[in-house]
């Protein structure tokens, strides 16, 4: 289909549009389906974007962080910590190494033991926060050196629990994108059905138009314009309601975790505006294909 044909199909032609009688039920059905699908697409898009952000954040933040745990008797703990810090600072690729203060360690444990935990009286290992530079350090080599010089040290690079979390977030992102594709496919299928119903209901009109010299493009255009416009309007309304729904969700917070981060940020708020345009494009293609197929059958 050439650009001229597409332009001709989309440009308003009031006389051509009058030639095809209005079809109330299919019109309402198309607007409703487009609106409902666009509404769901907004949430699928929000879910996909939020999970993507989460996966990126977890991936970036945790990839650089590691924790060194020093399990040593209380009288050796300070010396081993000092040795470990010295060793870490000499290790290429380690940007920063810092022992957590007793207050910080108490804060980490407070969700389980409460705020007044006498941490000095407990056999709690000393934690050292290790931050990698660019490029990172050799984990296997560091472990070997630590085992030789700091016997009670255990290096945890978070791989064990970071990867499943990032995989889960990426899985959610994929599901969101698949949902958007399915919504697009379902919209195309519904519009094809509605267009076929409208074309079948107007078979006699189409036959008369063919007999008086109408080209297929002219007849198809009347249907294509109608369904494209209805989808555009329905999807625009659905997107507005969807965006209002997303705006009403709680704002992102550390306490709320992932659920409160479900929404759009910055330029992401512009993405839902593409949904009516894409929906109209889907409707255009679906109606055009249905009309061409049906016209060849009819006369």
């Amino acid at each position: 289909m050439s650009n001229g044909t597409i332009r001709g199909l989309l440009l308003s032609d009031k006389q051509a549009d009058r030639v095809v009688p209005p079809t109330g039920f299919t019109a309402q059905l198309t607007v409703f389906v487009a609106g409902a699908m666009a509404f769901m697409a907004v949430f699928a898009l929000a879910l996909s974007l939020a999970s993507g952000r989460l996966a990126d954040r977890w991936s970036q933040e945790l990839a650089k962080a590691a924790t060194l745990r020093i399990n040593a008797p209380a009288e050796q703990r300070a010396a081993q910590t000092e040795t470990a810090l010295k060793l870490l600072r000499q290790t290429p690729g380690v940007a920063k190494a810092r022992a957590l203060s007793p207050e910080e360690q108490a804060a980490l444990l407070s969700p389980w033991f409460g705020p007044d935990l006498p941490i000095d009286a407990l056999p709690v290992p000393q934690l050292v926060e290790v931050t990698a530079g660019e490029p990172g350090y050799d984990i296997a080599g560091l472990r070997l050196r630590l085992s030789a010089e700091v016997p009670g040290a255990v290096l945890d690079d978070h791989t064990r629990w970071r990867e499943p979390l990032v995989d889960a977030a990426n899985g959610l992102r994929r599901l969101g994108l698949i949902a958007i594709l399915l919504i697009g496919g379902a919209t195309a299928a519904m519009i094809t059905l509605a267009a076929n119903a409208a074309l079948a209901a107007n078979a006699q009109v189409i036959e008369v138009l063919r007999l008086v010299g109408a080209k297929d493009g002219y007849i198809a255009g009347a249907f294509v314009r109608r369904f494209t416009l209805r989808t555009l309007i329905g999807a625009a309304v659905g997107v507005v309601f969807g965006m209002i729904g997303v705006m009403l969700l709680p704002a992102a917070s550390d306490e709320g975790g992932f659920l409160t981060g479900l929404g759009f940020r910055g330029i992401g708020w512009g993405l839902p505006l593409l949904i009516p345009v894409l929906g109209a494009g889907v409707a255009f293609a679906a109606t055009w294909a249905a009309a061409r197929r049906r016209l060849k059958e009819l006369s």
């Binding site: 006389q15 009058r18 030639v19 009109v205 008369v208 007999l211 008086v212 010299g213 109408a214 080209k215």
Partner: protein, 226 residues
């Protein structure tokens, strides 16, 4: 020749309706096509405007083989062939004036630009006062005259009329015949399919007409027995 059928045959549902039909319509000529009901008059007309394709032989319209035309070419060709269908074929949701202007609209010439022509044409067929009426509100004679007006609004070279007087009284049939004769005098080629022999007899005093009769699946030139 404007329309030329060469050894045309048409079979439908396993039966042969037309066989070895050859006929030519010259510019400005006037023809009647007659024969009993079911003989194939409507089929022959449909072959002339491409609503059907022959199962044997060849149909040429304006020197173009109908079998070789694509759908857009066929649409363009139909703009040069005015057809008065037996059942008129109107769009019931549009007023009469818009139905008559339909060929102009679909050809992209627009109705408004041709308003003067439309008014003149509606006056010619005596329907000026019925411009806003919907087709279901029209009488049989009004429908036939409106169908004739729609057939000629594009100023076609050929007018094909399928039983144009089938549903009207004698006076109205004479009026319609007069309109078709007038068109012929303007240089249009006219082919009227009818089983009404009295219409053919009445036309003889007004126009030099050739009468073709479908008989035994073939086409013959009818003689003085009419």
């Amino acid at each position: 020749m404007l329309i030329e059928l060469e050894n045309v045959g048409y079979s439908y549902g396993g039966g042969e309706l037309l066989s070895d039909v050859s006929v030519s319509l010259a510019p400005g000529s006037f023809h009647f096509l007659t024969g009993p009901s079911g003989a194939g008059k409507t089929t022959l007309l449909k072959l002339c405007y491409g609503a059907l394709l022959p199962t044997a032989g060849r149909v040429q319209v304006f020197d173009r083989d109908m079998g070789a035309l694509d759908r857009d070419d066929l649409a363009m060709l139909r703009r040069r062939v005015g057809v008065v269908h037996q059942d008129c074929r109107f769009l019931d949701h549009l007023p009469l004036s818009e139905n008559i202007a339909l060929p102009l609209v679909v050809s992209g010439r627009g109705q408004r630009a041709e308003d003067d022509n439309l008014k003149e044409l509606m006056s010619w067929v005596g329907l000026s006062s019925r411009a806003e009426a919907l087709p279901p509100e029209l009488s049989g004679g009004e429908r036939q005259r409106a169908a004739l007006a729609r057939a000629v609004i594009m100023s076609p070279d050929v007018v094909l009329a399928d039983e144009p007087t089938g549903n009207v009284d004698w006076d109205m049939s004479q009026r319609l015949l007069h309109l078709l004769v007038e068109l012929n005098r303007m240089g249009k080629t006219v082919l009227i399919a009818t089983h009404d022999l009295s219409l053919i007899r009445a036309a003889k005093s007004q126009v030099q007409a050739r009468v073709l009769r479908i008989s035994n699946k073939g086409l013959q030139l009818a003689g003085a027995d009419l």
